[in-house]
Structures are given as C-alpha cells and as structure tokens.
Symmetry: C2
Subunit: 163 residues, 2 copies
DNA sequence: TATTGTTATACTCTATAACTATA
DNA sequence: TATAGTTATAGAGTATAACAATA
C-alpha cells in the first residue's frame, strides 16, 4: 500500500480538481448574476422542479453534501424569496414538505439557458461525444462508489459513532 | 446553439459535479483534521514545495481560482502559522516573495499520506488505469480550454483588469 | 498609467450543538 | 429511543472596492 499516487493519477487528480474548480466558479457567477441564486439553491430548485412533486427536507438532503442546518438555512432563504413553500407533512408531523412555487419554476427557467450555455462553452466545447459518454460513465461510477463509502477518511481516530 | 444539453451531457455534467463535490468534501475534512489546513492553504504550500524556490504572490495566483485579496488573506494565515515567509522582492519592490518554511514542508509531509489515501480510496478505486489516463487527458484539455476562455461574465481575473 | 499587493469591510456559507416535536 | 427539522451561534472563505507603493 504505497502512500503515493503514480504520475498518471497525480495528473488526473489535479486536472480534475482544477477544471471543476474553474467550472464551479463560472457556474456560480452565472447563477448569481442571472438569477441571484447560489449553486445549492439552484440544486434545490432544480431537484424540486425535476421531481415534479413536493419533497421532504430529507429527500432534498439526499444528494446534497451539506449539513442539515445548512439545508434549512438555504430553504429559509428560498422561502423568503417566494421560490418554495414549506409545510408540515400531514402524514408525518415531524416532516416538512417542500414545494416549488410558480415563481420558483420561473426562476429556474430564467437561469437555465445561461447555465447551459456556460457548461457547454466551458466544458463540452473541448470534449467529443465519445468523451462525454466516457466521462459520464466514469463519474457515475465514482459517485456511486463514494456514496456507498461514507468518508470515514476524515476521522481516523474512531470507527465508532460520535458521542 | 440549442439552449439545452443532450441527455448524455446532462448525465456527465451532474455526475461530474456531484462526484467532485463529494471528493472535495472528503479531502477538505482530511486536510482540516490531519493538518489544520484548508484546501487553498494546502494548494499554496504544495505549490511552493513543488516549485522548490520562492514564488511571488502573482505566481501563486496563477492556477488558483480565488481573488487576490483572498490569496493575501490565506497567505497571512499561513505566515502567522509559521508555514511560509513573505518578503519584499529585491528585484521588484512591488512584488512579494513567498517562501515555504521547514515547518511548512513538514506540514505538507504530515498531511500528504492521508490526502493520497482519501483520493485513492474515493476516486481511483473505481477507475481502471485506462480510465485514469483518459480522465487526465480530458480534464487537462478542459482546464486549458477554460483557462484560455474566461467566462462570458467578463471576469477580470487576470492581471489586465479593466475598470 | 499600469502593476503588485494589502486593507477594510461586508456578506455568504457551513458546521456544531442544543433544542423541540413527533414517531 | 430514534427521527425530522430548526435555531443559535460561531467561524471560515470570498469578493469588492479603496488604497499605497513601485514600475
């Protein structure tokens, strides 16, 4: 178990991190400029629009990296902006049901063209169709692998649950 | 110039963003836990260690996404921690020369094994050698493309910044 | 005038922990 | 007891703009 990456791995790792950082930077600027949305807020709205039915906070948390309180905070901002609504679920009084409003859909619609344009211009412009399929395959695999493997990486101290 | 992405592109885009977000999250936690470093701080130290000679702030800014003031701030933190030194350049009185200290090298050394382990476990575990080469090629190309093509939002990130 | 870098400031994001309430 | 979610708080990161100094 060597504690280094081989040159090809180093190259791939740093290129990946740098390319995605640049992409994230551009995407964040576009979302902010065109729709006054952070990327997380866009993710929440896009998820609700895509699901096409109300989701609980827990549903939303799945697929988002952030903490629960962070999600609550962002949802609060979106609610104040009139882009989503939150209500206590009738079926489980503990749960909160989140729905996208018409204004929320409109906001997504307003932001999407510019978003797509940025992604196409910055990322896909330099990739062939074959590259795109390959990239999709690899990243889907990697994502599933990471999701299946909770990052105990950060806590080498205890394999046991926190206090 | 349709204002949508085709399904394969959508899949690749979202998988990429999600996978890298998960990776970034894990990497940040590891750097914080093992070395009390943010990712940017690690990048700065790694760059200095790799260059093996002092660099100016501008040198450091190249290849980093952040703003100048952000870089100054992070450099200040690293200097306070005794991991780098900053001095006015003898050749150009405007420039600041940044050098890594022994403590800085030690910190990188302390953090690197865990860092590499996280990246290998999370990312490369699910990729073949061939995948790694392909990924490196694609991301290097994409990175160069993005660097050559600043976002449409007219980002004055370079040194030639109009008002 | 252009470039290098810092400061001052303000704002956003995120995490931790404590808390309420339902199940 | 465990789960869903919120609140309170506190810290870190980042950007913008104004600034000083040098080229």
């Amino acid at each position: 178990m060597a504690d280094t990456l081989d040159p090809a791995q180093m190259r791939a790792y740093f290129a990946l991190m740098e390319a995605v950082s640049l992409l994230q930077y551009a995407v964040r600027r576009q979302l902010q400029a065109d729709g006054d949305l952070s990327y997380v807020q866009f993710e929440i709205l896009a998820k609700l629009a895509d699901a096409d039915r109300p989701l609980t906070m827990t549903d939303l948390a799945d697929g988002v990296v952030y903490s629960r309180s962070g999600l609550t905070h962002q949802a609060g901002l979106l609610e104040n902006a009139g882009l989503i609504t939150r209500q206590t679920s009738p079926h489980d009084q503990r749960a909160t049901v989140v729905a996208i409003t018409e204004a929320g859909r409109a906001r997504v619609g307003a932001v999407l063209p510019g978003h797509v344009e940025v992604v196409r211009d910055l990322l896909f412009d330099s990739l062939s169709d074959r590259d795109v399929r390959t990239l999709g395959d690899m990243m889907s695999r990697a994502r599933d692998h990471m999701r299946a493997r909770p990052p105990r990486s950060a806590a080498p101290r205890s394999r046991h649950a926190p206090p």
